[in-house]
């Protein structure tokens, strides 16, 4: 049954599916893969109840292609996968980013590369989420660390994607996806929904890729009387292909500027006791939970620790890191990979604080004690 307002025990993947429907999801295409499959199963059951549509496609490339098609026809759309499928979706992610088609791509990370450990958690796709498809391109990556956060953050993912016409990667991990926690489902009237900007001019005046002050061009639904052209070739304001240097450059620069314009509106960070922190932790996803415990344990032992918990990984929250780096002696970056965002933290702190990574890549989550030990070392 569709969730009503109230408190419920939910699995992370379930919260992702239900939050997406609350956000207005009406089309889902996917291909089964552990540990994301429950999202598809849940949506196969729930979407038709709200008049939405679900389809299991023949592969992941077909799935991302189908959601882009559906989004062009006006439906809020999503797909969900894990590493091997995420690699396949890169082609479509590039297309959506370049043609500015709103959509949400869930990647529940598991151990990789290749088939890896299908049932075990990892955080190895952080760089791929940013740079997986070829060419410069805007992309936004959100990352929840609890089931409740999954529910609220997936709603943000849709709102952001619609508002800015940028694909949003929703980067979960196996632990958050499969754990069960309390979620307070808000009443629908309490959920703020954002729609993509639609044209305000008559069809014969419509320039599909002419952006106003906010750098986001209004988007017409296919079949709504605005007949226009969409192509993955480099295009001008009319949407038609161009190879003219000034127009090719103008598109790349507008997309980059749009991403920068969006950044402050899409950067979500929770800070825990950072104001007086001598040592800080930068963490995300399930690792941020162990980090929060490590902060409390450190404080109990007299070590002034703090936590920057990033819910937005890209655009990277450089400002938050810089501010903390000004006061703290060191920043520890625990990650379930060989060190990916630690490089960004280093870049943002720019020598102000010592930056130390902490990698765990044996298919087990990082423990609070491991982080605490590292805090004591630095």
């Amino acid at each position: 049954m569709l969730s009503k307002a109230g408190t419920r025990l939910m699995q992370g993947n379930e919260a992702c599916a239900e939050g997406a429907i609350a956000a207005g999801l009406r089309f889902f295409a996917g291909y089964p893969i552990t540990p994301s499959t429950e999202i598809a199963e849940e949506l196969a059951l729930l979407l038709p109840k709200v008049g939405g549509k679900f389809i299991q496609m023949e592969d992941e490339i077909a799935s991302i292609s189908a959601i882009i098609g559906a989004s062009l026809a006006g439906a809020k759309s999503m797909t969900a996968t894990s590493g091997p499928g995420f690699s396949l979706k890169q082609e479509g992610i590039g297309f959506a980013s370049y043609t500015e088609v709103p959509c949400v791509i869930v990647n529940v990370q598991r151990v990789g590369p290749s088939t890896g450990v299908p049932t075990a958690p990892a955080q190895g796709d952080v760089m791929q989420a940013r740079w997986g498809t070829h060419g410069d391109h805007p992309i936004i990556v959100l990352c929840p660390s609890s089931v409740a956060e999954t529910f609220t953050l997936i709603i943000e993912a849709f709102n952001i994607s619609e508002r800015w016409r940028i694909p949003v990667i929703f980067l979960m991990d196996e632990v958050v996806a499969h754990m069960r926690e309390k979620v307070v489902v808000p009443d629908v009237s309490q959920i703020k929904l954002v729609e993509r900007p639609r044209p305000q001019v008559a069809p014969d005046q419509y320039l599909p890729y002419a952006a106003g002050e906010d750098l986001v061009p209004p988007m017409a639904d296919f079949g709504s009387g605005y007949r226009y052209h969409v192509t993955g070739l480099t295009h001008d304001q009319t949407g038609f292909p161009t190879t003219k240097a000034p127009e090719v450059g103008a598109l790349a620069r507008r997309l980059d500027a749009k991403m920068k314009r969006a950044a402050p509106h899409v950067t979500f960070v929770d800070e825990l006791l950072v104001d007086d922190a001598e040592v800080a932790i930068f963490a995300y996803g399930v690792t941020a939970r162990a980090a929060a415990k490590a902060v409390r344990d450190a404080r109990a032992q007299g070590l002034k620790a703090g936590l920057i918990k990033a819910k937005t990984l890209w655009p990277f929250p450089s400002e938050h890191v810089r501010r903390v780096a000004e006061r703290a002696r060191a920043i520890v970056v625990p990650e379930m990979n060989m060190g990916q965002l630690v490089l960004e933290v280093e870049r943002a702190s720019a020598g102000r604080a010592k930056v130390a990574g902490l990698s765990r890549v044996d298919a087990e989550p990082i423990t609070p004690d491991e982080i605490l030990a590292r805090l004591r070392e630095v």
Binding site: A62, G69, A70, A73, H229
Partner: protein, 277 residues
Amino acid sequence: MAMPVTHYLRTSKMPHIWCAGCGHGIVLGAVLRAIDSLGLDKDEVCVVSGIGCASRAPGYLDFNTLHTTHGRAIAFATGIKMAKPELKVIVLTGDGDAAAIGGNHLIHAARRNIGITTVCFNNSIYGMTSGQYSPMTPTGSLASTAPYGNIEEPFDLCDLVYAAGASYVARGTAYHALLLSKLIAKAIATEGFSFVEAITQCPTYYGRRNNMRSAVDMLKWQKEHAVPVAAAAKMSAEELVGKFRIGELGTRTRPEYTRRYAAVIETAQKEEAEQDA
């Protein structure tokens, strides 16, 4: 004589990119005449393509048009059709686009019997990338990547798509342009998945390498090798060697996918209402 169909063209986007003598324009003309004969409203038509010379066609058409990635047109079209079943969704694709990289999407769309019409511009070669062999290149033909002659056997695409479950399958040629147009019109009027293979010519990269010096030679080849289905039925297997059948090759009635999904929605909503009650 066929009627001009310039009202469906974005004439401001001309001249087109196709070579002199390319058959893609003739096939596109047949598509437009088919749409015209059905009296479709421009706003209700959505044309989707992949990548290749053939796939550049939608840019010249005054409909809702989408030029996607190589081989994926049918997958994008599936999302459009699901989201807006009331649209007439037409996929224009090349033989490489449809039968190589997009082959899996093609057979699955046929299996689902989703209401999409696919017109495959089959010029037996990869035109856009300058003449590599495709899954539709005849055995023995020369291509830039088959300098000793192609050792692979081509698909019979129509048989393949029909076996996969399509509601309507037909083949025409650029030479038989009026027949082609009628077949495409029938395909568009079909409720389920429909597929028309249009044999066409690439004089630039296929003809020149394979002893057909001009587009006219290639059109003559089409004329001489095409056998209407009725005539083919009376011919022996030996007589048909090296020839291909044109006309309607398969029609059947099966439930269309988005209609089936509409029934799923009805069932799900009824269950939900009962649980609420």
